[in-house]
């Protein structure tokens, strides 16, 4: 187990380093003069050069790369180009707000999708199954901003439920924030329902077709007991993996939803950084999402190892 953990941790660090390198490459190696990009075509060459010097973007690439790596491992991305305040002061509060939304979305979607997936698998190829699968396919293929816009049109405008602007006023209690957050969370939940339900269904079908499920049935266990004791534990590993991957994606994937609902989370921060070409903020935010992805997949692997002794004992 310790070996497994160590290996997994090491690979997460390597991946994170690669990720940072990719981000660095995209931002720096691809052609493009940062100062010119920010100051626009009408700025003088001198002011562009001065700006580049201030940002450090005129130094040799390897120096910039080292700086960027130091920033990754200290998790300090310097100051924002746009506001000059430290990047961390911008991205961490934004992350907190996004996390609230993401957690609410997961609380809504996980139980419903897993249940739907199990029901679909139990009624494989029947009407219920087809309906759940098709609905899942549809909801998971629509971009989040589209479902957000549609939900907003229907609920907030037509039925007057929920708020169009999701930012709760300062000092609102956690409970009081609920009406603000529920609509964007719902929009996200709808999107992830499809992935989770389909994955759960596939896992349950595989497990209930497995020989050990046959053995359990032949022992004389009831269908419910076979499902509960033998199928689910084996079936849920792929679902857990998907959830963990989605947690990372939720943080970044909600950009569209945040924009539609004017919510000032990590997504909006990134949009703003895009608009003002604020590369440090963007870099920090992107890497933060990467770290969250790493941590959540790591936790998922541990959970799977806990559920599956084979992984735990042999590290396969």
């Amino acid at each position: 187990m310790r070996r497994f953990l160590l290996k997994r941790l090491l690979s997460a660090i390597v991946t994170l380093w690669l990720l940072a390198t990719i981000v660095f490459l995209i931002v720096n190696v691809l052609p493009g003069d940062v100062g010119r990009q920010i100051l626009g075509p009408f700025a003088t060459q001198e002011s562009v050069a001065a700006y580049n010097e201030r940002l450090g973007t005129d130094r040799p690439l390897w120096q910039q790369y080292l700086t960027s790596m130091r920033r990754l491992f200290t998790f300090d991305f310097g100051d924002s180009y746009a506001t000059s305040s430290p990047v961390n002061d911008i991205i961490f509060p934004a992350l907190g707000r996004s996390a609230k939304l993401a957690v609410l979305a997961l609380i809504i979607t996980i139980p419903i999708s897993i249940l739907a997936g199990i029901i679909a698998a139990r009624r494989q190829d029947k009407f219920t199954d087809r309906a759940i699968v098709t609905a899942g396919l549809a909801t998971s293929s629509i971009p989040e901003f589209v479902s957000a816009a549609v939900l907003m049109s229907i609920f907030c405008v037509h039925w007057k439920i929920g708020k169009v602007f999701a930012n709760p006023p300062e000092g609102t209690s956690l409970l009081g924030q609920f009406p603000y957050l529920i609509m964007p969370a719902l929009a996200m939940a709808v999107t992830y329902f499809g992935y989770l339900a389909r994955m759960t269904r596939a896992g349950v079908i595989t497990a209930q077709n497995a020989d050990y499920a046959r053995t359990a049935t032949m022992k004389g266990l009831s269908r419910r007991a076979v499902m509960r004791r033998h199928v689910l534990r084996n079936a849920l590993a792929p679902t857990i993996t998907v959830i963990s991957v989605q947690i990372g994606y939720l943080m970044g994937g909600i950009i569209g939803v945040e924009k539609v609902f004017n919510y000032s989370g990590l997504g909006s921060t990134m949009i703003m950084a895009v608009g003002s070409k604020d590369i440090p903020v963007l870099q920090g935010a992107v890497l933060l999402v990467g770290v969250i992805y790493m941590v959540s997949t790591l936790l998922a692997d541990l959970l799977i190892a806990y559920l599956n002794p084979r992984v735990r004992l042999e590290g396969v």
């Binding site: 020989d211 050990y212 053995t215 049935t217 032949m218 022992k219 004389g220 004791r229 002794p309």
Partner: protein, 687 residues
């Protein structure tokens, strides 16, 4: 077909443990119902063991599962009944069925590794079977330990605490058997319980089942494709073909005096009673196995039967009682004419080529070792192997899993590179370690025939493309000439031009293997390595492939390295046999000498483990423990921990020498040959 399916003998259902009455099952495939069982009837008395035997697709497993009313999602019982202890299983409610499965019937499955839940400890899975009977947890736990003891597991408490994947195949199957016996069932169904297990492990599991039968009065229904297993375990046997039992009777009688053309053909296509390729070609059954759902309105065997006439094509054959005991029948119109079948052609002797003295050894292996590296551990898969292969000779290689026989084949061919210090030489010149570095001529000279033709032939290529490409690459002949050569070779192997334009998937298993053989022979190879070439095939198809291999060898002076786990097949085809264990050759010698002894104790155990179709009684040599992992081989003689004849103080410390036991017969053992002869003369270790 239903009206004629009369139950065989007088069978008072109240006293029989299992009565299957005119059972008809269909599978729905692509919207069409395909008939799998066409009115299967048989009964098993309490305490009796009944075997169902037949080739793939005959419906034997479907019958077994249908007996416990467990069918695939697309399967349906459309007629007939199944009575267990007088209760109609087909008519039970769901809850009654559960109770029936929990208390009255159990099953042992083909693949024990898959049959247990990988995420739950063995103990809990076993305890579950007992709590279902209403026992309390602590009671069930005690019963579970007791059950493990009953299946001869020495350390039940420790095993209870394991996960299934931490047990060896033999142990897993013991646990599954323990689970099945938990309720002391009236009916125990065993579906190919030892398929996939190694020979010595199989023998132990079969021994266990045999012993347990004496301790319980459960009726046993055994499904197996191996006739020897059925004979050694079952009182009566039903021979199935295309969803119907074509012959039934006491096992010994059926196997010694078959009374249905199919049974006759099936038994004749087996290499039995030590027959060799020099004595006769094997009989084959013409035609192919019918597909599931094939339309066979009258006799199911009519398309392949030499006796078939108009009656057979128009009238469903009746149940013809054989003898006067009322316990045997055959479903054939022409039981009286079976004697004429005995005269079927094909008893042509194949002359064996004596290895050419002038060219000793087409292929020579000296000090060949192969070590795999996994993480930081070295796994010696082959250790210091020396071999010689003469022109036109067949060297059989036998051994169980982990013995290194497949690694040996791959290393010869350069698919795996051998360790430094070893040497593989063809006609005296050293071959490069890896295929990539070998000359075109060397590649042409050594080819391979694989176990599974489905995997060996590219499924998106036509047969013609497969063969032409091989001709072009191996011989340098291109274009039309290559095509001509392929057509000539194909014709020689009885593949028609039509076959050439098909994809492998469209061919039957036997035809696919023919294509694979043709591919190996395109460049007139000197040596062909055959890795279990018939083990994926049905018996009746196997015979034709073995004949073909023997014929080709005679014509082309090809040498074979023939890897197999089937001793009968090896005995039929091989001139010499090498026995491998944990990467080492333990014994090598001419086939007759190896089969007659004296033997290495491992060979002795291996030979005694074969369940014999002819019912020969052998002293079983029991081996203790499991096959060790090649990663961690025992010290001294690698076989010593399991060897019943190990000499204390010597075998565990010193690697034994190879000693001469006859001309070209070598045994790697500390026990002197004379003593081995003495020990093996009498059945010393009792089964």
């Amino acid at each position: 077909m239903t009206d004629l399916a009369v139950p065989p003998a007088d069978s008072p259902s109240a006293t029989s443990a299992l009565e299957v009455d005119n059972l008809e099952v269909v599978y729905r495939v692509r919207g069409i119902d395909r008939v799998v069982l066409r009115g299967v009837s048989f009964t098993i008395a309490p305490g009796e063991a009944y075997g169902l035997v037949g080739e793939s697709g005959c419906g034997k497993s479907t019958t077994a599962y249908a007996a416990l009313r467990y069918l695939p999602r697309n399967g349906r019982i459309i007629g007939g009944r199944v009575l267990v202890g007088g209760l109609d299983v087909t008519a039970m409610s769901e809850s009654r069925l559960r109770q029936f499965r929990a208390r009255d019937a159990s099953m042992v499955y083909q693949d024990p590794a898959q049959a247990m839940n990988p995420t739950i400890r063995v103990g809990r899975q076993l305890i579950e079977s007992f709590t279902l009977l209403g026992q309390s947890n602590s009671q069930a736990s005690r019963s579970a330990i007791e059950a493990l003891r009953k299946v001869r597991i020495a350390d039940p408490e420790r095993v209870m605490d394991r996960y299934p994947f931490q047990l060896s195949g033999g142990m897993q199957q013991r646990v599954v058997i323990a689970m099945a016996l938990a309720c002391d069932p009236k009916l125990l169904v065993l579906d190919e319980p030892t398929t996939g297990l190694d020979a010595t492990v199989e023998a132990e599991v079969l021994d266990l089942v045999r012993t347990l039968r004496t301790e319980s009065d459960a009726a046993v229904l055994l499904i197996a494709h191996n006739l020897g297993i059925i004979r050694s375990l079952c009182d009566r046997v039903g021979v199935m073909y295309a969803g119907r039992i074509v012959e039934e009777g006491p096992s010994a009688e059926v196997f010694d005096h078959p009374q249905h053309p199919y049974t006759v053909g099936l038994l004749r296509s087996l290499p039995r009673r030590g027959v060799r390729k020099t004595e006769k070609a094997l009989d084959t059954i013409p035609g192919i196995l019918p597909l599931i759902g094939a339309d066979l309105p009258t006799c199911v065997f009519v398309d392949r039967c030499a006796l078939a006439d108009d009656t057979c094509r128009t009238v469903v054959p009746p149940v013809v009682p054989i003898g006067t005991d009322g316990n045997r029948y055959s479903r054939c119109h022409h039981v009286d004419r079976l004697a004429s079948l005995a005269e079927t052609p094909g008893h042509v002797a194949i002359s064996m080529l004596t290895p050419d003295e002038a060219h000793p050894g087409v292929l020579q292996l000296s000090h060949v070792s192969k070590t795999f590296h996994q993480r930081s551990t070295a796994i010696p898969a082959l250790v210091d192997v020396d071999l010689d292969l003469a022109a036109g000779e067949t060297l059989g290689i036998v051994g169980e899993s982990g013995s290194g026989k497949s690694t040996l084949a791959k290393t010869m061919l350069g698919i795996e590179s051998l360790d430094m210090g070893g040497r593989v030489a063809l006609d005296g010149h050293q071959l490069a370690a890896s295929t990539v570095d070998r000359s075109a001529d060397d590649k042409r000279s050594m080819q391979m025939i694989f176990q599974n033709p489905d995997s060996a032939l590219n499924r998106s290529w036509s047969v013609r493309r497969i063969l032409v490409r091989s001709v072009e690459k191996l011989t340098g002949i291109k274009g039309k000439e290559a095509n001509d050569r392929v057509e000539a070779l194909a014709a020689h192997l009885r593949l028609t031009p039509r076959h050439l334009d098909l994809r492998p998937r469209q061919l039957s298993g036997g035809l696919k293997q023919r294509v694979a053989i043709a591919r190996a022979f395109v460049g007139d190879p000197r040596i062909v390595v055959c890795d279990e070439p018939t083990s994926a095939l049905d018996v009746s198809v196997q015979a034709a492939i073995l004949n073909l291999l023997a014929d080709l060898q005679v014509e082309q002076q090809t040498s074979y390295v023939f890897i197999s786990h089937d001793m009968g097949v090896v005995r039929y085809l091989a001139d010499r046999i090498a026995v491998m264990y944990l990467g080492r050759i333990q014994e090598i010698g001419p086939t007759d000498e190896v089969f007659n002894g004296p033997n290495h104790p491992y060979t002795e155990a291996l030979l005694s483990a074969i369940p014999d179709v002819d019912g020969g009684v052998k002293a079983r040599i029991r081996l203790d423990g499991e096959i060790p992992s090649p990663a961690n081989p025992p010290s001294g003689c690698v076989f010593h921990p399991r060897c019943p004849r190990a000499i204390e103080g010597l075998c565990e410390t010193t690697e034994p020498p190879l000693q001469q036991a006859g001309s070209g017969h070598l045994i790697r053992c500390h026990i002197p040959v004379e003593q081995l002869v003495e020990l093996q003369r009498k059945p010393s270790v009792d089964a």
